[in-house]
Symmetry: C2
Amino acid sequence: MQADDVFKALGDPTRRRLLDLLCEQNGQTLGQLCEHLDMTRQSATQHLGILEAANLVSTVRRGREKLHFINPVPLHEVYERWVRKFERQRLSLLHDLKKELEGE
Amino acid sequence: MQADDVFKALGDPTRRRLLDLLCEQNGQTLGQLCEHLDMTRQSATQHLGILEAANLVSTVRRGREKLHFINPVPLHEVYERWVRKFERQRLSLLHDLKKELEGE
DNA sequence: AGAATATGCAGGTAAATACCTGCATGTCAA
DNA sequence: TTGACATGCAGGTATTTACCTGCATATTCT
């Protein structure tokens, strides 16, 4: 499982913004994405590289352009592994805390 | 929304391990948690502080001990805001990529 | 071919991060 | 009270990270 790469990738606001931008319009080029970011193209490239390494973004070259597509699969796997686990025990976990606060 | 704190907190494997440990047995002390980690107590304290700042862990003092409890609420909010969004568009996003790979 | 455009690649830096050591404080139990 | 135990706090350091500048390469269009 690449949980570490995925979480690290999601840990940066710029990269979450990139995913948001791709969610609005999938298949954007590097240049298009950069228009919405307040940093140099080179920095954005690094962020996209991290997203790609985490398999959250796939790219396709078209001529001199590079198109970026979201891959929702790893996000789903992370959800299955992490969120649902805690979700399932949500009520009982809060119960534990409440009991303790009440003095056992 | 504290999305940034939550994602940053989840971005470290040690902190995810701590959440796992608390999921196995909620309300553990700092000392108990340290037994499962390969680092000094002080380092673990920092990690727990980050989890607490992200509101993923709540603590209760009992005498000289400090008990740690998972708070699943922020994780649920992150799920609602991030995972479901992409999940909803999962098939169409993959469709976009497939189309592009086939040459439009 | 030559200019404009889109991206790639190679460093360089300041700040954040994840560790650590050393010592202080507070609590329990004999 | 005194010793053992659980945690808190104050730095110090090496690595990672998120930016940047400068230049190279590849593609399109006239």
